[in-house]
Symmetry: D2
Subunit: 321 residues, 4 copies
């Protein structure tokens, strides 16, 4: 068993990661550091671990506990990770950082395993992608072989846990429950992250990205539209996706039905559907923003880094009747 | 037109009061004081006043603006009102205080107009009841003429706006949307308020009061059970309610259907239903916690204090086909 | 007072129309025909008319009641209106049909008053627009003066009342509450309606239209993207909207904040925001699918047909502080 | 592996049972009979089995498939099971019936394993309890040793899946999302079921039972109040519960916090809290109406009938840090 410590353990993504690791066959939870909740039972804070006896530990506890061969998941607020992560690595730990702090570092592999598994497997530090970039990149990266589009439009709908567990007026039930709210209309921090990775795959077309909050706790649907200068054939486009995700245990391309947020919440799955209308390719991608968009993907990255099967601890494939 | 200033204008109850006063035929909004939102347009903060040009004003603005004959609605946090209210009254204003600060003062009329209109009409300061006490007292006070029950049990379900607009983890969408949560299990501050008013109407039986948060922004349903030492007849009990509310424009007793939270949200109405099972009287009472439970009742009290028709500005009775 | 009969009175849009007409200063409700609910009190079925004494009437009741000068709102299922509407008109009634049945008739004015008021004012029959076309056309029609775009992409998010009140598995709480669901992925019946009206305003560019159901009872947000062959200046585009809606009492263009579904639900308002990103114009439009998208717009059309002020009975403008 | 066939496989409880059996170490799914969905892929109908290849089978398929040693879960509408269940048993199958059809048969063990495990272990047919009775009985049965109360009051709040998946207006999103709705106010079919089992444990005091629908898909909270003629000590009452559930893997009694619906949804757990106020004992009990209240309990009963560990396939106990 490899010990996994969690630094910044009181948020939604950290909680989901702890739920997954708690039942993972090859991982076990170590120190669960939270400045705000130090000493409190995890069971009172996290319904999914209600039966557990874990307690949050205080400032410095992960650093004190970490040993060579351990893993640290960093789930602190954006901007806090850089220094601490170096210290964890100096103690011999592998680190997956869920904040945005390392996503623009050329030396840190981007943790989208469907597209970057070899680099992740060799890494001691991985930058876990944001939820919007995860869904958007899974939808757009397979198109690279079709040539450059003229324009890309990404219209994303997310559950509110993407905003984290730190209280704010905009995340209150009474504000979210009766609204659909576009935000970041003058520019969203996830857009450069998406553009950077697209550029690494030779896609430089302009992107218009619009995120929305919908009345969901968890789940995300991205509608990605790529507009080309020429008409495309749907079978050619679908073939790109079939090739891209032929061996991926988590990406599922559906036809004849719509991708469903309800079908992916609680899982590490991404469900995609591809349609073509003349010069427009439309790709829908549903993920759980806390699953494939955060904690599930982090565990997937830990699996890859440790040489474990990619899907270990991330849901059993159902039997075929 | 009488000017109504709002002190503590950025919360949910204040916002609902401002919505009502904005279209009230005899009232107009004056200073809208909010320390946290001073200078901000109300339209950006309060969807229901999106078309308005009001702005929140800063600390001290109500005190500076108030003139003899004005009204002040105080909607600040519990514990802040006492000193300021005296200053408003010294300037010649009538005051309705929505906090709990004056609800236990023998010299301040309790603003449940269905039971206390004469005192309210003479008052310059009225203590607006809490939402739980409003629904509970409307359900239990008519029973006083039946003699003392052995025990009373009140099981209340409330929307989350009752917790106010100050951000807290417990009021986040992701915490509220999938839960039904009893709270105050060791004692809730509304219980003494209920018991005090019941005692003023000669009811001293012990009360067990359990509040719950349900996944609603607005609305409240109270199930009040009174257990007697003898069996009661349903027609006798219903007659008590018919007498108590014969002339009340806002209290509606229904039979053959259930009281509906959806039917009272946005109104100042209370919808009741009475059933009797042997020695148990069950009264259901649905109100809008921000309407009859807070802002609607405050406007009703202002109407009574100013000698206006009780229902003015609080919804037009529909025509009869 | 002009009498307004409602044919197909038990659905969501009919109910919202009845709520509006009930308090309209120049309209009164006549026969409220519903095959399924004949004889039932409206109060039990429609929370917003809980205080009313209206009853649903049976098959043929509107035809029996209609007199010259009356108005009939037809809110039956798509495909049922054609024959009956002729009979209503033969009796001298003006008709607003909320179904899709007349929206493709060249002889029947399309009831989008912001763009077609003169024809509506002269008409005895008006085809009330669908909710998706209403929001989409308000967003796209002002762009006509900019020349043809290369491509249009419309990504729409709607509350579930757009699916009507006839029970179906897909509209159950347990199916809607935890999902965001794209549908009509192989083609939606609203797309030709949108394309027809755009073509009448000289816009023939291809349109990709994707509707989604989000966990809302009411409300709709449309994100409309027009992609041009050249870069555009935001002030030029905003000027088109300022000109188009300068005198419209219901269309509100906002800057510096996002259009809010919560701010338009219960109203006949449309809230728009315009941004430009190089060759992409993005217009967001929020409406209430039952308000401006159905019943509110129907009452607006009745006002125009009767020569009444367009906003009568559709919400009072707030006073300016 | 024991094969489990499902008769009436398209409803919510059946779906949850199929999800559990799909990953159960000692059970496997057999025929999944649904008249309404015969031939359709389960994956399109049931998000939780999205990855599976199961298909619904047609009328008579379970009867054709069942072999000695198999298990049949009957999840058809109330009133349909009696004849078919006999046929399944004649073929040598054990049956757990989730309808109300056998709950009043003296010869059929009542499937509340915490109180009836020995009879269940010997049975070939078990009547699975209703969701309201499950939560209520878990809350009230431990009190039997305290003597008869004067009166019992049960106030229950349930998610809407308890109403099943057959479409009805009352279960539509737009009806449920903004309401708290008491129902069965003149008597609910679950009350006699509760009273029958209480009487078997020597409790005959009158019971007032009021069910409510709250805006939840899944989950239930029951507040059970027992009023006695004498005052009780909280430690005595809590001791009854400690004794009753000392060895139960699924019943968890909490102190210092509230039972949480969110903590039990998706599990077979029941979470209880006991308080005493003079002569009133208040017991809160949270369960998942589709878990411990239906499908989870059915699988628990299958485990007991087959001599398997009671908790097999029903969630792994978390490790202790």
């Amino acid at each position: 068993m490899t010990r996994v410590h969690v630094w910044g353990a009181a948020g939604y993504a950290a909680g989901e990661a702890m739920r997954l690791i708690d039942t993972h066959p090859a991982l076990e939870l170590g120190a669960l550091e939270s400045r705000s909740h130090a000493g409190a039972p995890v069971a009172e804070h996290l319904p999914a671990l209600r039966r557990s006896a874990y307690r949050f530990s205080g400032e410095g506890s992960v650093l004190a506990a970490v040993s060579p061969g351990d893993v640290v998941l960093c789930a602190a607020a954006h901007g806090e990770a850089r220094e601490r992560v170096q210290a964890f690595m100096k103690r011999g730990a592998r680190v997956v950082d869920l904040s945005a702090d390392f996503r623009f570092d050329d030396d840190v592999p981007y943790g989208l395993a469907e597209w970057n598994a070899p680099a992740i497997a060799r890494a001691t530090l991985v930058a876990n992608p944001g939820c919007y970039p995860t869904a958007t990149l899974l939808a757009l990266l397979p198109l690279a072989s079709l040539g450059e589009p003229v324009q890309m439009v990404v219209d994303a709908k997310s559950g509110i846990t993407g905003a984290g567990r730190t209280p704010s007026v905009g995340a209150l039930f009474a504000e979210v429950a009766h609204d659909v709210r576009a935000y970041g209309l003058d520019g969203h921090r996830h857009q450069p992250e998406i553009e950077r990775i697209l550029a690494m795959h030779a896609t430089h077309a302009p992107l218009t990205f619009t995120p929305h909050v919908v009345p969901l706790a968890r789940g995300m649907l991205v509608d990605a539209y790529a507009i080309y200068a020429r008409e495309l054939e749907v079978q050619d486009v679908r073939a790109c996706f079939a090739r891209a995700y032929a061996t991926s245990p988590f990406v599922r391309v559906v036809e004849g039905m719509a991708p469903s947020v309800a079908a992916v919440v609680g899982t590490n799955d991404a469900e995609l559907r591809i349609d073509v209308f003349g010069r427009v390719v439309r790709v829908l991608c549903a993920i759980d923003n806390l699953g494939k968009g955060a904690a599930g993907q982090a565990v997937q990255n830990v699996n890859v880094m440790l040489g474990l099967p990619e899907q270990m601890g991330l849901g059993v494939a159902t039997r075929v009747a």
